[in-house]
Amino acid sequence: MVLQKRASAGTLESSDTMVTAEPSGKELELYVESIVMHQFGDDIRKSVMEVCSELGVSSGRITVKDRGALECTIKARVETALLRSGGENND
C-alpha cells in the first residue's frame, strides 16, 4: 500500500498512542517518542515496522507519540493511521 495523504489515529491520552502517517517519497522514516522510551522504545519500533510490512508500506513518514499504550493498542493505532493515509474507505 502506498501512503496518499496525511492521516492520524489515536489520542495523546494516558495508555494510548497518537500516530501520524504521511507520504514522503522517500524510504520509510519512523519517529517515535514515548514516556517509556528507555524500556520499550525498540519494542515500539518493532511493532510499528511489523504493521508496515504487513500492509506493504515501504515509504513515508510515520510519527508515533506513545503515552504508555499496550502493544495491541499501538499496532491498532498504526494500522488505522496507515489505512486512512493509504486511502482505504474505513473511516
Partner: protein
C-alpha cells in the same frame, strides 16, 4: 493518584462525560485568567470542554500555535489536558499543517513534554515553545550544519526581512561581510510582508553577488517566525520582550550553534519599536552566550536615514522615482517592472510595520 480535589480520577476516566465544542474566546476568558494565563490574541479557533454544562477546559489555535490551554482547577488531572491537546493537534493535522507548536508558561513545559511535544526554546520562569514533530528542528539543524561545514573561522550572521532590499541593507551586509570570515544572511521566511519571501530572497541574492564570503539562506520556522516571534508580525506590540528573549534563546541554542556563529550584526533601529526592543535584547543576551553583537549605524542618503519602511511609504504615495536613490539597481528595476504591479497595489492599500 487521588488529588485534593473532589473528583476522583476513576470518575474522570470512566464515568465523566465531557463534551467539546467551539466557543468564543470571551467564554474561555474567566477560565484562562483563573489559571494564571492571559487571554491570547489572534486566535483562529477556541475549543471548550464541558461537564454538566460547566466549562472545565479550553484550548485555542492561532495559526500554527496551540495556546491558552487551561483546565478548571477542580478537574486537573492530566487526562483532560491530553484530551484538549489531542483535539487541537488533530485539527492542525487535518488542516495539513506541516508542524505546529505549543506556547505555554515555563512551569507547564514538562506537562506538554510528557504529551510528546519537544522543547524548541524557553525563557526561564516565563514561557516555553514546544513543537509537535521534533524531526523538523533536527532537520533544520542538520541543514545548517551542512552549510557551515568547512567554515570554521569567525562566522557572522545577519537576520533580515528586506521588505524590500535597500541600499541600507546592502551597506549592512557589506560591512558585516568585511568583518566576518564567512557571513550567513538569514531572510525572514514568514510570508507576512508585502514583498513575498521568494522575491525578498532573490533580490538580496542578486544584489550581493559581488561578495564572495556570504550565503543567503531562508530563515525557516525558527528565526523570527510566527512561532518564535509573533509580535514581529502583529499590529499590536504584545509581549515583545518575552518573544524577543524566546527567539534569541532559539537562535543561540540552535541556529548559532549549528552555523558556528561568532558575531551577529544588527542595523541601528531608530524607528520601529519592536525591532529596537529586539536589538536591545540581542545586545544583552548574545554576549552572555559568547556571541558578539555588532551594531552598525544606519546609512544616510543626504540627511535621510535609509529604511525599507521609508521606501514603502514613497511607493504608497506613488513616488517610486524618489525611492530610487535608496535602492540598489536590482530592487529598483524590479519595482518598475510589470511583475511588481500587484505588490505596489497592495502597498497602496496597506500600512504594515515591516
Amino acid at each position: 493518584m487521588i488529588q485534593g480535589s473532589g473528583i476522583q480520577s476513576a470518575d474522570l476516566q470512566n464515568k465523566m462525560v465531557i463534551k467539546e465544542k467551539e466557543i468564543t474566546l470571551e467564554k474561555a476568558g474567566a477560565l484562562l485568567l483563573s489559571s494564571g494565563l492571559s487571554v491570547p490574541d489572534d486566535t483562529d479557533y477556541t475549543a471548550g470542554f464541558f461537564h454538566n454544562r460547566e466549562l472545565i477546559g479550553t484550548g485555542s489555535i492561532s495559526g500554527r500555535i496551540l495556546k491558552g490551554i487551561a483546565v478548571h482547577r477542580d478537574y486537573r488531572g492530566e487526562n483532560i489536558t491530553a484530551r484538549i491537546v489531542t483535539h487541537l493537534s488533530s485539527r492542525c493535522l487535518e488542516k495539513g499543517l506541516d508542524n505546529f507548536f505549543i506556547f505555554t508558561k515555563y512551569s507547564e513545559m514538562e506537562k506538554f513534554e510528557s504529551l510528546g511535544f519537544s522543547v524548541v526554546g524557553s525563557v526561564k520562569d516565563k514561557a516555553a515553545l514546544l513543537e509537535y514533530d521534533s524531526s523538523y528542528l533536527k532537520r533544520y539543524r542538520e541543514k545548517l550544519k551542512n552549510l557551515s561545514s568547512g567554515y570554521t573561522g569567525e562566522n557572522g550572521c545577519i537576520v533580515m526581512n528586506c521588505n524590500p532590499f535597500t541600499k541600507g541593507h546592502l551597506y549592512l551586509i557589506e560591512k558585516a561581510s568585511a568583518e566576518s570570515d564567512h557571513l550567513f544572511i538569514l531572510i525572514v521566511e514568514e510570508d507576512k510582508s508585502v514583498f513575498p519571501f521568494e522575491k525578498r530572497m532573490e533580490l538580496v541574492k542578486r544584489g550581493t553577488e559581488h561578495l564572495e564570503n556570504i550565503d543567503v539562506i531562508p530563515g525557516g520556522s525558527y528565526t523570527i517566525s510566527s512561532a518564535t516571534f509573533p509580535s514581529y508580525f502583529a499590529k499590536e506590540n504584545q509581549h515583545t520582550e518575552l518573544f524577543a528573549s524566546l527567539d534569541l534563546d532559539i537562535f543561540i541554542t540552535h541556529t548559532a550553534e549549528a552555523l558556528n556563529i561568532k558575531k551577529r550584526f544588527i542595523g541601528e533601529e531608530p524607528y520601529c519599536p519592536v525591532t529596537s526592543i529586539y536589538n536591545r535584547y540581542i545586545k544583552t543576551l548574545l554576549p552572555a552566550a559568547g556571541i558578539e553583537a555588532v551594531e552598525i549605524k544606519r546609512l544616510k542618503e543626504g540627511e535621510e536615514i535609509i529604511s525599507a519602511s521609508k521606501v514603502r511609504s514613497l511607493i504608497r504615495e506613488g513616488k517610486i522615482e524618489e525611492a530610487e536613490q535608496f535602492l540598489p539597481p536590482v530592487t529598483y528595476s524590479f519595482l518598475v517592472s510589470e511583475e511588481a504591479e500587484s505588490i505596489i497595489r497592495k502597498i497602496k492599500k496597506s500600512s504594515s510595520r515591516h
